[in-house]
């Protein structure tokens, strides 16, 4: 999102020309404009990593020792950055980290990949201090001395020492430069428990910055739950105002933009999984929503920072104020805010086997897949279920298979899904595990990640790293991609071949093999005359429900046969864009190469009934069986969210999503630019309906002249 600063007045643009509120002081706003304007990202890129070449005999060291020395070198020599007037200190200043690598270079190459897709344990850091982690590491070393786990136990203490070295360097510079408040805070945190809100913010940030300095991309999790009690206490004691707290927290957000380097990114692409999850219940079921929740929303609303993808935990008990503030921030577009229906998430996690208090603590991995923060190893493996249908079940339409009825086709497909999951398991066993012993699974040596392991419960005590079975929960989630495209393909075959008998099965395979060449009328019939997933039509939605239910059951079947659990999810993220050129024609009228569905959302252009119908279709799915999650993307026109009634509309959609039992939803607002794209590529925007009072029409069905008028209308 563009930021301008004409005549010293900083303006943060929005997609829909509603001006953003101003609550922060001009200095903070300028700092944000600079950070969003790539200043620190470009600076970070200048130093790719610290060199390791001068370390004698480096290549003969064990991987663990190599990692330890790399972290030490980073701590000792990475550039220190203090931004003018910053209220919070600590910076991840090495460029290779922006590329998800450990930024220590041996012969010019970064040491190894780094860690992402987790929310580490910041609660222990803030409440107990890192000294408490050191104490645990020391007693673990005593326990593991003389065993094969000794090296990792030593690595934990070595990395803590490295952290201290880096911390000391900041203390020295801050004192020297006269940043007294920052210096005093860092004299307490993160080693000792935070006493104030300000210290708590600094504690999270400094620890987070060190993880990132070493190349990792952690999430942050439930920041409002963590910081809220400190703010409440400070305000009770009269040492901090809400406005001051907002400024401090804003600096946390602005510092989090220090990896933005510009280039060809949309507003959401400059992110490094630094996710926040706000509101919702705590482990005891009490609502955590507090002043910090609203400060976070204030800051996102004012600065338009999309680098902390933030998800609001909603429930049927959410306060009206939370819903309205969420809607108000959402209408600025950019997809900065998403929502969980925490009741469904907790239900699904509990059903999967998490203790209820653990389930209630959920945060996410940096996208939206839910996990218990600070206790979970998480990884997902994406599978394209459309490819599976096309290549395996339908043999790339080569005519070698035939099915007497829909049931036979579906069963053949599910059998292929079962095989795929067996392969999934076999691959992981082969890659990551030796064998099962009485003491559990023995893990193969993997890339080193001690820095992250320090902040994941289980690692220090077990003497196993984050990637080697250390955490309490070890998850490798198989993800369905191409869900809607698969469901629609199956449904179109059912209708065309078996129900309406418009075409024989073999004949249809031949037509698809020829990419619908010469069968345009039939293609358009399939495309236009059937109602597909996302329109609240039970006839097709039941296929989706059945497929997801069978998939979840098959995932459950491979649990317990390795050190991992396999809860299923639905995702594509942006992968559908990469897949689309390689997928064959689809029975629902898609030609080879055309756009595919994202996540658990409908196939683009097939959703003709609007947002409420889309949410209803999505919510019919057995989401309680998908304990990792399934995401729905919801595109809204700015005209729908204009003014107070627009806020009402968004609130209604959020309430409906919760009442119907959704899991995760990402609403976004589209502007006139999108309409222009729709004008150029009408096929991809079939669903875009435009409205003025009681009149309605689908945008792409208008001729150029009318389309121009509607565009103009939306630009006003």
């Amino acid at each position: 999102m563009k930021t301008t600063s004409p005549g010293g007045k900083t303006v943060f643009a929005s997609v829909n020309n509603i001006s953003r509120p101003v609550r922060l002081c001009e200095n903070t706003r300028l700092f944000a404009a600079e950070s969003l304007g790539h200043k620190y990202g470009l600076e970070t890129k200048k130093t790719r990593g610290v060199p390791l070449d001068d370390i004698e005999g480096f290549e003969f060291l064990t991987p663990c020792r190599k990692y330890d020395l790399a972290v030490r070198r980073i701590a000792e020599t990475a550039p220190i950055r203090i931004c003018d007037g910053e209220l919070v200190s600590g910076s991840a200043t090495l460029g290779a980290a922006i590329s998800h690598l450990v930024p220590a270079l041996y012969k010019g190459e970064p040491l190894c990949r780094s860690i992402s897709h987790l929310t580490p344990d910041f609660v222990t850091v803030v409440r107990d201090g890192i000294d408490s982690i050191r104490a645990r590491a020391e007693s673990a070393l005593k326990k593991h001395r003389g065993t094969e786990k000794e090296e990792f136990a030593e690595s934990c203490l070595y990395c803590l020492d490295s952290f201290d070295i880096w911390h000391k360097r900041y203390l020295d510079v801050l004192r020297e430069k006269g940043y007294t408040q920052n210096y005093e805070n860092l004299c307490v945190v993160p080693h000792k428990p935070a006493k104030t809100f300000y210290q708590a913010v600094q504690s999270v940030w400094f620890t987070f910055a060190f993880m990132r300095l070493c190349g990792n991309w952690p999430g942050i999790g439930r920041l409002d739950e963590l910081l809220g009690p400190y703010l409440e206490n400070d305000m009770k004691n009269g040492v901090l105002t809400l406005d001051d707290a907002r400024e401090i927290l804003a600096h946390f957000f602005i510092k989090g933009c220090e990896w933005i380097c510009g280039g060809n990114y949309g507003s959401g692409d400059a992110q490094h999984y630094q996710n926040l999850v706000i509101a919702g219940v705590d482990e005891n079921g009490c609502d955590v929503t507090n002043d910090v929740t609203y400060l976070i929303l204030d800051i996102i609303e004012e600065l338009g920072i999309s680098d902390f993808p933030t998800t609001v935990r909603l429930s049927s008990k959410s306060p009206e104020k939370l819903l309205r503030r969420t809607a108000e921030v959402m209408r600025f577009g950019g997809g900065t805010l998403a929502v969980y229906n925490e009741e469904k998430v907790i239900e699904s996690m509990t059903k999967y086997g998490y203790p209820p208090d653990e389930a209630r603590r959920f945060a996410n991995d940096g996208c939206w897949e839910v996990q218990v923060p600070g206790k979970t190893y998480f990884r997902y493996i994406p599978y394209d279920f459309l490819q599976l249908l096309q290549k395996k079940t339908l043999k790339s339409y080569d005519g070698s298979v035939d099915f007497p009825d829909f049931e036979a086709l579906y069963k053949a497909y599910i059998s292929d899904v079962a095989d795929l999951l067996e392969d999934h398991l076999a691959m992981l066993l082969d890659e990551n595990m030796e064998r099962e012993t009485e003491g559990g699974w023995v893990w193969k040596e993997d890339i080193k990640c001690t820095v992250i392991s320090l902040f994941e419960e289980g690692c220090i005590e077990k003497g196993l790293s984050y990637r080697e079975g250390g955490p309490i929960y070890n998850i490798v989630s198989p993800h369905i991609g191409g869900l809607a495209d698969t469901v629609n393909s199956l449904y179109a075959i059912k209708k065309l071949v078996f129900d309406e008998k418009k075409v024989g099965f073999g004949e249809l395979m031949q037509i698809l093999k020829n990419n619908w060449e010469g069968s345009e009328a039939l293609r358009l019939y399939a495309l236009n005359r059937y109602v597909y997933y996302g329109n609240d039509s039970d006839e097709v939605d039941v296929i989706c429900v059945r497929l997801l239910s069978d998939f979840a059951d098959l995932c459950k079947k491979i649990d317990g046969r390795s050190g991992y659990s396999f809860p299923g999810g639905v995702s594509t993220f942006g992968r559908q864009l990469e897949w689309s050129p390689h997928r064959l024609a689809c029975p629902y009228g898609r030609k080879s190469g055309e756009v595919l569905a994202a996540n658990a959302s409908p196939t683009p252009g097939s959703d003709k009934e609007g947002a409420t119908a889309m949410i209803r279709s999505y919510c019919k799915n057995p989401l309680e069986k998908l304990s990792i999650g399934a995401a729905l993307d919801l595109k809204l026109l700015p005209s729908y969210i204009k003014g107070d009634e627009g806020i009402d509309a968004l609130v209604a959609l959020l309430r409906g999503f919760v009442a119907l039992g959704g899991f995760f939803m990402q609403p976004d607002v589209i502007d006139a630019e999108i309409l222009k794209k729709a004008q150029e590529n009408p096929e991809e925007y079939q669903n875009l309906s435009v409205r003025v009072s009681g009149w309605n029409a689908r945008f792409v069905t208008l001729n150029k002249e009318w389309q121009d008028m509607v565009i103009e209308q939306n630009e006003r």
Binding site: E520, G610, T612, D648, A649, L653, R691, S693, G694, Q713
Partner: protein, 288 residues
């Protein structure tokens, strides 16, 4: 729900409507209207009979409809002979592109209620259903529909041209969105085919009976975009006891494509679109 076999002729049901009354609403558009406004933006909903729409820009000349005498392909160009069309709908069933569509679907009250209830989770405190069209009150069966909706606790609004007495529906209607197309009797007659006296009589009668109303004021450049008209609307608004406000709606020309699809002249006319200044002036006087 009791079996309710009253049928109504529906043009379209649209979900997630934000501009047809408060909150999120499902709008049921009815077929048939007593007025013939020149600027009508839903011309396919004027006649009460079922009608065939033909969107020529969507036709791929596949000739699947050619077995019917109403469809002609002269040199590849598809035309519809409306004299010969009996609106059986077979061509629309076969048409792969929806270039051919039938407007007008007879639905029972139960069917309509079932559709409307799909979005109950989104209605919240304010939202619900809006009956629109066409003119919903032109079909006497709407009383049964409104009764059924109210018995399910659904908020109801009616968008009306004001041509009908509303006493029968009043007990089951939470809000009337009442069109004030023109306040000049002669112009009203000229452009809509009917006098506005009846519209205003009905409005004040409804008001006397306690009907909650919102005035819907279309502003058309060169027709009613004048200060006198705005002042008269203001007077009407102030005389009403139960009026919840007025909405100023600028004319738009989007209805034209649908008129053409009905075989009628394109009634869309960009020169009728009021300027921003005119709209602001109307808002200032009417809503002010």
């Amino acid at each position: 729900m009791n079996d309710n076999i009253t049928t109504l002729r529906v043009a379209e049901i649209q979900r997630f409507c934000m501009h047809d009354g408060p909150g999120v609403r499902t709008t049921v558009f009815f077929k048939g209207c007593p007025l013939r406004c020149e600027w009508c933006h839903n011309p396919e909903m004027q006649k009460s009979e079922r009608e065939l729409l033909f969107f020529g820009n969507k036709c791929i000349s596949c000739r699947l409809c050619a077995s019917c005498v109403a469809h002609k392909f002269d040199g590849g160009k598809h035309t519809v002979d409306r004299e010969k069309c009996v609106v059986c709908g077979k061509c629309a069933d076969l048409c792969p592109t929806t270039a051919l569509q039938i407007c007008g679907n007879d639905m029972s009250v139960n069917e309509i209620v079932r559709e409307v209830k799909k979005d109950v989770a989104f209605y919240g405190e304010n939202g619900g259903v809006t009956l629109s069209g066409g003119e919903p009150l032109a079909q006497s069966g709407v009383v049964d529909l409104l009764k059924a909706l109210k018995s399910d606790g659904i908020n109801t609004a009616i968008e009306t041209c004001g041509y009908f007495d509303v006493s029968a529906v009043l007990p089951y209607t939470d809000l009337f969105l009442w069109d004030i197309k023109d306040t000049d009797p002669a112009r009203h007659k000229q452009y809509t085919g009917a006098s506005n006296e009846r519209v205003l009589e009905n409005l004040f009668a409804a008001d006397e009976m306690g009907a909650k109303t919102r005035l819907r004021c279309i502003i058309i450049n060169g027709v009613n975009a004048d200060t006198d008209h705005y002042m008269r609307i203001r007077e009407i608004k102030e005389k009403l006891k139960n009026c919840a406000g007025a909405d100023v709606l600028p004319y738009h020309a989007y209805g034209g494509s649908k008129a053409v699809a009905l075989g009628l002249p394109d009634n869309g006319d960009a020169s009728l679109i009021p300027t921003d200044d005119e709209i602001n002036e109307a808002k200032r006087i009417i809503c002010g």
